[in-house]
Assembly symmetry: C2
Homo-oligomer: 334 residues x 2
């Protein structure tokens, strides 16, 4: 894979600089390293803050979701590497409106370690935090060990839902954490990888996969999936992913779900819509209603080819928060 | 390149079906072939219509830009092949609100032939049309032969600007055609290709390019560009593209432009923002102001790697129309 970049070690920083330069009304860069992105307009006093973060290389995740009705700040690391403790602290401070800050991020060891350390130090400085981990990837652990699951594209649902809750003037940190937890519990995801991506500083693909093969359940950093086998038709892939999610989450007739068909990067919109058409048909057959479907690039691995499917089971509370206004370039109202 | 699809000959149709299934409030499929996409809410009487179209394989171009403040209908063909005359006629009829219809599409022989034939037949049926061709690709012909230039990603500017004009109750077909022409004249684009894409029915890449090479000026169907050479740094590529556009359009200090940094498909947001950061810096140095920049996937060639840069020189009239509301999943207000 060929990349348009300058120095590999400047990839993450230059991308962040461009994001902020292109959208100065939405994002601003903070911290000594510039690896903290916060809302351009600053933090509103009395609002519960929400911070996320993780490795670079997943745009628009994580930083793209900073914005009204979504996140308040993000700290990011190098490509596929967690943010530093100092940057996590800086992000939390930027998101501190005096009502506490929710740390809402994917379930990865390095991220957890650094966010936890930052939270401990900030507790001593008088900034209370709560942590909710996104763990939606059914390909990474059995349902009986849900706390071991990784966080993937389904993270947009807790972001959007907790983000909407935190805009409400009477919402406390406990309220926002509780709804984030509910959104995490409601969300399941699974991916299929067709090609690897290349971390700029490594200079070679993260894994290898034969021309005629695909891997179901692979993680967004190339973590091993559930099954590798011959590349199947889009319909067969859609059916396989959907069946796994419906079974795992036990979603049945009469329920309402939001559906996210996400490209891991190179896979174009055309293929996402081919997958979506099948998923919509299958859900209709089962009398499951789709609300606010999302089709596009929401959490990527740079130029990796492949897609993921996420379902978020909605009740009236989650649905209203999902539909609430949000302002960032990567969340469409329609 | 590996694709998630069913039958190669169903690729375009299934993608359209998915687009309409995912966004039933925005799009509806018309025509015997289903290759015509119109606004879900139908055509408003008394409004000038705008129709576009072309080959499939460029999502969200063309069909994605049907929506309030943008296009009224589109007709599309197979991947990289023009729409049929019948579908062009069907699209124009769907966009007919009794005030005439603007045909606004890229300058390609097959598209022109079929849209022209459709326009002639509809003239006899009493539906007046005017045609404005988008010809923004400076890599495809000299400025002295601008009418020979192909239409590429810069088409979003005439779409958005003419689309906003057509929503005004007092706008006539001539008014809308005139502003579309003005937007076309104000827009220049150039692309750089790093890898080819594969047309599903052909099953092999559209062209070949060595691992260490790039081609400046290549068209979105793999048409030959201006120069092929070693892959350069993002800054060098950004400078090269920007200099060509500024020289061609003679844009100088004190002017206002909108900037579009567009991925041809596989190239991720990170790389687009790296390019954007450099372009913003260079324009600032020249005292040229950026208004409403766009960074993302606006006109693609499926999974082709590469990017294009477009500039639209604004006066107060064009800027106001560019900033007017628009409702589709692929146009962000921020």
């Amino acid at each position: 894979m060929k990349k348009l970049l300058n120095r590999p070690d400047a990839y993450a920083d230059e991308a962040l600089a461009g994001l902020c330069a292109a959208h100065p009304d939405i994002y601003r860069q903070l911290g000594e390293t510039g690896r903290v992105i916060a809302r351009a307009g600053g933090m509103r006093e009395g609002k519960v803050g929400i911070v996320s973060g993780g490795g670079s290389g997943h745009m628009p995740t994580f930083t793209g979701y900073v914005g009204e009705g979504l996140l308040d700040a993000c700290s990011v690391g190098n490509v596929f590497a967690g943010p530093s403790v100092l940057d996590c602290m800086e992000a939390v401070k930027a998101a501190n409106g005096g009502r506490g800050v929710l740390l809402l991020y994917g379930n990865y060891g390095g991220d957890k370690m650094n966010f936890n350390m930052a939270a401990e130090m900030l507790e001593m400085e008088g900034i209370p935090t709560k942590t909710v981990l996104v763990a939606d990837d059914v390909g990474s652990a059995q349902r009986s060990e849900r706390e071991k699951r990784r966080g993937v594209a389904g993270l947009i649902y807790p972001y959007k839902i907790a983000g909407a809750k935190a805009e409400q003037n009477d919402a406390s940190l406990s309220d926002v954490a509780a709804i984030a937890r509910k959104a995490v519990d409601a969300t399941v995801s699974i991916g299929v990888a067709l090609t690897p991506c290349t971390v700029p500083e490594a200079g070679k693909p993260t894994f290898s996969i034969d021309e005629g093969e695909m891997e179901i359940g692979m993680g967004i950093h190339g973590e091993p999936g559930i099954v590798r086998g011959p590349l199947k038709s889009a319909d067969a892939v859609a059916d396989d992913m959907l069946e796994r999610l419906l079974a795992d989450a036990d979603i049945g007739a009469g329920e309402r779900v939001s559906v996210l068909v996400n490209s891991l990067g190179a896979t174009p919109l055309e293929e996402l819509y081919i997958l979506y058409a099948r998923i919509e048909k299958r859900l209709k057959e089962r009398d499951i209603s789709i609300v606010m479907p999302r089709v596009g690039r929401y959490a990527t691995s740079m130029e990796m080819a492949g897609a993921s499917l996420s379902l978020c089971r909605l009740d009236s509370e989650l649905e209203a928060l999902l539909a609430a206004p949000a302002v960032c370039p990567f969340w469409s109202a329609v």
